[in-house]
Each structure stands twice: as structure tokens, then as C-alpha cells.
Symmetry: C2
Amino acid sequence: MPAMTRRVALRAGSALLAMAALLPFASMPVQAEAPQLKTQVPGYYRHALGDFEVTVLHDGQIKLDTKILKNLRAGEMQKLLALQFRDNPTPTAVNAFLVNTGKQLVLVDTGAAKVFGPTLGQVVANLKAAGYDPAQVDAVLLTHLHGDHAGGLLGADGQRVFPKATVYVAQAEANYWLAADAIAKAPEAMKGFFKIAQDATAPYAQAGALKTFTGTTEVLPGFKALPAPGHTPGHTGYLIESKGHRLLVWGDLVHNVAIQLPHPDVTIEFDTDAAVAARTRKALLSWTAKDAGLLVGGMHLPFPGLGHVREEGRGRYSWVPIDFAPWPDAP
Amino acid sequence: MPAMTRRVALRAGSALLAMAALLPFASMPVQAEAPQLKTQVPGYYRHALGDFEVTVLHDGQIKLDTKILKNLRAGEMQKLLALQFRDNPTPTAVNAFLVNTGKQLVLVDTGAAKVFGPTLGQVVANLKAAGYDPAQVDAVLLTHLHGDHAGGLLGADGQRVFPKATVYVAQAEANYWLAADAIAKAPEAMKGFFKIAQDATAPYAQAGALKTFTGTTEVLPGFKALPAPGHTPGHTGYLIESKGHRLLVWGDLVHNVAIQLPHPDVTIEFDTDAAVAARTRKALLSWTAKDAGLLVGGMHLPFPGLGHVREEGRGRYSWVPIDFAPWPDAP
């Protein structure tokens, strides 16, 4: 082994020395030539779906404890997390999906803004980092009216974040969360959830820009709503299709990918009807696993939340994320 | 289902109309309010390792056919790829790892520049996108001297891409590729590989900035070289450690994660000694799988190439990528 030499500050280039002169002395270790940047890459990811351009937007992450999951022993859940080298509580992504069809700019869910705390609320910043502006969004399709999906509709100023957009949500979802007496009737612990849903949609409703739909229907060209109830009454997946390429954005079908794919029976305490939620999850996992050509996108799957479901036998499944790829990745 | 209205160009905001006026008419579909951007997010990813800041840099991807893999039937390889929803040929990442220790900026491998074609060569662009400049790099540690690892040392102008950097490589690697008579002695089909290695390192050698090391040794503070021979004679992994947090950058231990983790016996035709390469792979997979606290980084693992090895029994392993996380992700 040869003698290794170490660089010293005297060898820094003039540009760096100029930069160093602007910094307080105490923060400059003698040998720090290139300060650590301590920033993450912007939280967006582009994927080609036929003629559609999909941009997944990261809203941030929130830690979810297995205490809020039901129907599996804590020790078994811990084992499943360890298999994926994940901690408990599990940092859990919140994603939204922006689709530019070439004719319309469509956002599926909006993130949480600040209704669920400081670790979320990056959808608009990442939409801008990805090269778009909220004012360009033509339509927002909501999977459901929980705060981490609809909260991003409302600006800190009380105005619409997407002033040009028409917002679409299932009629059953609107009936449940937006009824005039919904807050009054809600259990005390749930009143906040109802208020978030109502506040977020109110300025769109006032502007005549909140529309509802029922059943399995093509909400916009290329966007088919598929009822996926249980997590909420009107919880909806969107099957997005262009030139035969298909992406199912399944909303909150899965919150913890390490636990609920091997054990689809595991429900979460936010489910309005846990039994129906589990039945919906099993049906959609079975379908998506049988269709290798179908890409899946999920709001709480690890960012960018795109991948495939693999059948593991005995009603168990696993998640196979797509690989990072340059544009165009999969036309 | 209510009647859905479609947006028309007349509803575009004034800023967009101004932008549209700059575009040739023929390229503007009537309803295209927001042009598709068709760019990918920059190819870097930041990860905190103790006090070190790791930035993985994506050089691009290259398609590798299973024809170049040995010791497993083609049908079995196809099944393993299908399990991961991957195609054959498989788009395969080329990664490099930039580590800012706070005192030194250290790059592990350099990508291919243009020696392996147009789909690679993005390390410098992504290093810049990540906020650094090639002139800031203090040291380059090479895992080996193949073109997609050392090629990025050399600029299109024939000059050093990292003018301040000292380049470190194992003595056995230098002996094999850089000997004065190496090209003359090489088989015809391999001469190009030797020339790439010699061309890439020549300007550093001329400047006295090419250093070699032998055996298991701390090349720089926090960077321990671990001989991992077989793929090439001096193929080296680097164990990077800060504050008890450890990352093993294992170079080319694995080229096809879907096939060589379940079947570590599978070798690749670029191996200079396939039997030794397989033995090294088995030893390192066994070690990394037993040490859940050890993070692994690989040059051909799906970008960002960071994750853990899981033991599946009977000498089989699988790959568990880390989740995308904001900075700081795992201090």
C-alpha cells in the first residue's frame, strides 16, 4: 500500500475559496472543499404510457405504525417488515399521479397540503419541479376524500390550488363526506376528517367545478373509474389507457406493501367498512396479478409507486417495483 | 353519469397563449394546453450514511441479453426475468457513487462516457444536476478497469474529467490492464477493452495522479478496499463507513439482479475468471445477507442501486431495494 496523501484546503480552487469567504468561519471545517448539499433529488418520476406522459409526484412520507393495522398478530407483522428491511413505524409515501394526455392535464389525487403535518404537502412543489404549473391542470380525479388525497386542493390562502380544474369524485364519496349534516352526525374523533374533505372541495363546488359520477364509467377520455369501495364508501380506482398500454391507479388499496400484499386480509383503522375493503383488495390483487401487462400505481406504494403485483400462491402476493429508466421508458 | 365537458384552447390562460404563439402551428394540437415535457427527473439520489452524504449517479442504462450469462438454461433465465416483470434483453443500469465525507469528495467509478454507446455517459451531467462539479472531486476509487467504470475518467477532449482527483485502483487490476505489452498480448476480441482502460487512465498516470493499492486496506479515511476478484483480477469492493453506518459498494458482483441473486452460480462472459467470480459472489452474498445493518450499493443494480440482500434458503438470495425517501433518509 502506497502512502496516501490527503487534500488540504490550500488546494481548493478560487471559486470555492470565494464561496468559503461568504460562510461563517465556525461552519467551515478546515478541509471541507465541497460543502455537503443535503438536498434530495426532486420528487417526480416520468413514465410513458402509450401516448400519455405520466408524472408521479411525491407529496412526502408519513410514518404509519402497525398498531393501526388489524387482523394479524404484531409479531407476524414485525417479521414481514423485517423481510423487507423496513422499520415500524414505517415511513410511507404519499403519491399523486399527473397525466398529460396531450389534450388534457389530469391530476389523480392532490396530496395532503398541510392537513397531515409538515412531512407532506410537496405535490405542488414537485409538480413545478417537473415543469408544470398548477394553473395548467384541467381536471383532478379523486380516489377518495381523505385528507392526504383531497387536502392538496385547497391553498393556504383558502383559494383553489388548481383554478382551472374540474374536480371529479364518486357520488357515493360525495354523499358520505360532503352532506350538509355529515359533520354533525360524525363521531367526535372523525369530525376533523369530514371538515378537511368539505373545506378542500368547497371552493370548487362554489365555482361549479365539482362533478360526481357513479359506477364504472369513463370520466374523461382514457380514464375509467372503477368502484373500489371499503376503504371509503366511494373509493375509486382509475384505469388509465393509451394505445393499449394500461395503468391502474388503485388509490388506497394498500397502505403497507410489506404486510398487506402477503396478507390482503389485513385492514387499516381508517377503513369505513373493513370487510368490504378486504374483499375489494383481494379482488383487485387477484386481477392485477393475473394481468402481467397491467401496470399498477398506488398512493402509498414506495415512490414512484409504479410496478406489478406478483401472485405468490395461497392468496398471497408481493410487489415488484418498476426499474428507474430514462425517458422514454416504456412507450 | 353527468355530461363531461372538454376543455378547448380558448380557455387557455394568457401565458400559455403567449407560449403557443412561439410554437409552429403544425406542432400544436388544437386542445394541447400543456405540452408534454418528455424529460426524466435528474438521475441522482441522495442518501445519508452517518456523517457522509452519498449521491448515487445514474450513467444511463444498457441492454444485456441473457445470451452472455452462463450456467443456467435459457428457459429458466426467462422464468426468473418474468418473475420480476423484466424483459430480455434487460435494460441494465450503470451507476456510480459520489461520497462527500465533509472533508473529501470521493467518486466510486465514473460510468462509461461514450465508450459503450449513446445510452450511457450521464455521470458528469448528473453530478452537475446534483450540485457538484467534476473539478471538486478529490479522489476516484475504481472497482475495476472495464469501460463502464473507468471510461468516464477521460473527456472527449482527451483531458482528465476530474483534474484535481487522484485515481485509485488495485495493483492486480493495473498489472492486468495497464501493462505495456497488455494490448499486444490480448486476444483480438479483447484488445478494445485494454485500450479503453489504458486511454482512460493515461492522463492521470502522466500527471502522477494514478495510485495503486494491494489487499484489504483503508484507501482513504472511511473507505476500505475489499478484494473481490474473478470478474476481473483486481476487482474491488469498497466498504464505506461513517459513525457505524456502513455501505458496501460491490462493483460488478451482480449484473442481472433477477437471475444472479437466486442463482449466484450464473456468470457473465466478461468475467476474466468465471469460477473465481462465482465463488466471490457467493461469499459476498452470504455475508451481506447475514448483516441486516449493511447497506449494499451496486453498479448494475436498478438505480439508485441501494438496498439489502435477503437470504431465501438453499443458496438463493433476493434483492430488496431501499425506498425513496426525502433527505435525510437514514442518518
